[in-house]
Amino acid sequence: MSAVTSQKNGSAGPGDPEQPVLEHGTMPSRLKRWIIIWTPVVWLVMTLATFPKDRPVTSGFGNVMGGFVSDEIARYPAWVVLILGLLILGFAILSLLRRQRKHTLAYALFALAAVLLGWGFAAGFDDGGWSLTSSSEVLGWLWQTIAIVLIGAAVWAWGYANPERAYLMVFNTRQTWRLYRSNWQGMAGIIIMAFFAAMALLSPFLADHAYLAPNAQIGLPFEPPWSSYYGWFGTDEQGLSVLAEFIWSSRISLVVGLLATAISTMLGAAIGIFSGFYGGWRGEIGMRLTDWFLVLPWLPLALVLAAAWGQNYWMIILIIGITSWPGTSRIVRSQTLSVRELQFVERSRAIGSSNFHTMMRHILPNVFPLIFANTVLVVAIAILSETTLSFLGLGDPLNFSWGTMLRGAWVSGAAGLPAWWYILPPGFAIILVVLAFTFMGTAFDEVLDPKLRKREEAGSRPEGPDAATAAAAGTPEAATPIVSMDGAVLPEGGLPHLRHEQDYDPPKGGEQ
């Protein structure tokens, strides 16, 4: 009630023709459209990520299509799928226990959990009996397709059961996107990223993985570029195609960067919220831990760890993950400290909500935009870190990444030839990807910053002159985006993104 009205006031108002007119209590149709569009996209991404490596476009339509139902699709270790299934099962039980009129969400989650658990058990059976780590051919593509469809159904059920929250999500996402669109750096970042993401996902079609084999020479060592497709970027010190290496490298570089960021963000956010929410000795412990990890010089430590733990990408992901979280943690902590003082948090505690409930339902949603913007920036750092470690020879010897390519160039003395075709492509790819993430991160930072938000909206919203003049007088660079490296520093008082959440939060306490 208050939620919907407050948004109407705070939103684009009559000036914006796109403003969705929603009635209270119904699921926004935009969310339905999102589900219909994004479910196939997610399916395609997941499928392409595990697509067989030996089916370039030239191998014929039938062969490529056959790849979509091949054994290699979705061959995850059994434990990954099982843990996911157990988590979903937990959520399903929790949502069943909630006093709600509709239990559709719980049923959808149960179905999803059942599929995942079934898949996990089936995948575990191998020739040698059942094991957690094995991943046999069990029609993974089918299981995965069903699971993704069920995820879409679960989101649908969620929107159906929580129309107000769904409305908020749609509204906030649209609002954020509207502002983001006007930021040219952010858009440039998205375009660059889309290019490299497409390259990574489509690499099985773009280059045959067989060209990476040590005996797949296409020419003499260090041959400059020539006109045949695989010869576009010349050859490396063994006479292999640099183009094939370049394309396949994008996968490792991006995946390592994203996974390491996931670890880093989860650690940083958890410790940051924890140490910000609890004062006293518990908060102190969290803070000290952060400070100690902050002073650990990451590269020497990574050298020690990588040398001792062996060389594969899981180790690199882990090393980057556990050495890069303190920055996130600090930022999240300071934001948590200011959110904690806000009224709705006190109200939540006053009505006797548990600490966990308060953290999950009030603190997390309010620090989430900040975490999100920070995460995008951390990806940039993680990708650079991966490149650095690979360059120093700590990468996975079995896979190519842009860092490994540069190591190859360095060790083989490509700079002395000079074999520029071997050095330039991976370097520029790294710079572009890192720049793209930095652009996106700073753009999100700006979009989620209430001060800047107000400024942008002042132009389009017929509201008080207060906002307009204050915004005009306060910020001279009205039209141009700012590059802010200190993007993490956000003003107190929470973010507008979820300020609506605060209106929305029901004053009754019996919801958990």
């Binding site: 509201e463 008080g464 002159p465 307009a468 003049t469 005009a472 007088a473 001279p476 660079e477």
Partner: protein, 375 residues
């Protein structure tokens, strides 16, 4: 003259030889004469007409209150007077005649000679107006040394004198802003404003961030200093009671325009503009029968797209036909009392045409400025 000025006793305003020097002065009615001043801000979406043609005059030794809701352009007007608008703001047209010199046309270099020496400012919330990493004393000495060209020691002595004048122990001259309380910082700010014996002091909400007791003390101090030093003073405030207490003249602004101006008595006892009346009603009167304070319904307009005609028309209870189409002009309804409202006469066709021609000229000027900038 500098040394003499610095040593001049507090009571007697220093003689300003500069004032007589230039013969080619425009005949002017007073110390400050603002004529149809327009200061706009540029946003990506267009021009925000923060100050859209304001006029008032100030005699030497007089104090003038500039009041209105927050966001009506008061601060912009004040900063426009000394040409300190933010980067994207500019004075579009109009004149600011200070002692006969048009400040609006003066160069940056010329302005630097006027600033603080002739016109100084007391800023809102001295907490942020004082540099946190410099000693307060140094910040006061800075303009003295710059404008009066005297030695470090003499400047320090002057700063201590000023501290005494505003009621701070001169021993605290070496302290940093954070070591002082809010009221004391504001006193230091006032001391700083008086550092070069200016002829005009502009106080931009000088008491807003302070608690009531301290507010009263600061206002008293300003009043006392004004009398002692014979200062001209412009007080900017959203608080009408502050204005009523301290000022001789009042100017009420709404959405970038002056809606009513006159002596404080005229404005408070004989308010004619509907907005002024509502504004006065929205403050509790302790002398009369207790009445519910009434607020003004609606919001001020977006200055990026001001409504046609009178800016107040959408909220005005006495709005009638020409209000929504014809822009009202300031008319003198009794000596010294100006009101901008159609209730006191709709301008004739010739005046209307002149006004719209003026607007067209301003627009053309803006367009030309944009084009020049683009190149």
């Amino acid at each position: 003259m500098s040394a003499a000025t610095a040593k001049a006793k507090k009571g007697a305003p220093a003689a300003k030889p500069a004032a007589e020097k230039k013969a080619a002065r425009i005949e002017h009615p007073g110390l400050l004469d603002v004529r149809d001043l327009k200061a706009y801000f540029r946003l990506s979406a267009g021009w925000v007409k923060a100050v859209d043609g304001i006029s008032f005059t100030l005699e030497p030794g007089e104090s003038l209150g500039l009041a209105g809701e927050s966001g009506c352009g008061k601060t912009t007007a004040a900063t426009a007077l000394i040409k300190l608008l933010p980067e994207n703001g500019r004075i579009v047209s109009g004149e600011v005649l200070f002692d006969g010199i048009n400040l609006a046309k003066r160069t940056e270099f010329g302005m630097s000679k006027i600033r603080w020496k002739e016109i100084s400012m007391i800023f809102q919330g001295a907490m942020n107006a004082l540099n946190p990493v410099k000693e307060v004393g140094d910040q006061i000495i800075e303009p003295i040394r710059l404008h009066d060209n005297i030695g470090e020691k003499a400047a320090l002595a002057r700063a201590k004198e000023l501290f005494e004048l505003v009621g701070i122990n001169p021993k605290r001259i070496g302290e940093y802003p954070h070591q002082m309380s809010g009221g004391m910082r504001q006193r230091a700010m006032i001391a700083m404003a008086l550092a070069c014996n200016p002829r005009l002091v502009i106080g931009d909400e000088p008491t807003t961030a302070l608690d009531v007791m301290v507010q009263a003390q600061i206002l008293e101090l300003i009043e006392k200093l004004r009398e002692e030093l014979d200062l001209s003073f412009i007080l900017i405030s959203h608080d009408l009671s502050v204005m009523a207490e301290t000022c001789d003249k009042g100017v009420i602004m709404y959405a970038g325009r002056v809606v009513e101006s006159g002596s404080v008595e005229q404005i408070f006892n004989n308010a004619e503009h509907p907005y002024t009346r509502r504004l006065i009603k929205s403050f509790p009167n302790i002398h009369e029968k207790r009445e519910m304070v009434s607020s003004i319904p609606g919001d001020p307009p977006n200055l990026l797209y001001p409504p046609p005609g009178c800016n107040f028309s959408p909220r005005c209870e006495r709005c009638f036909e020409p209000c929504t189409s014809v822009e009202p002009q300031l008319t003198e309804i009794e000596p010294g009392h100006f009101v901008s409202c159609h209730l006191f006469g709709v301008p004739d066709q010739a005046t209307q045409d002149a006004a719209s021609a003026d607007v067209a000229a301003t627009d053309a000027h803006l367009a030309a400025a944009l084009e020049a900038e683009a190149q």
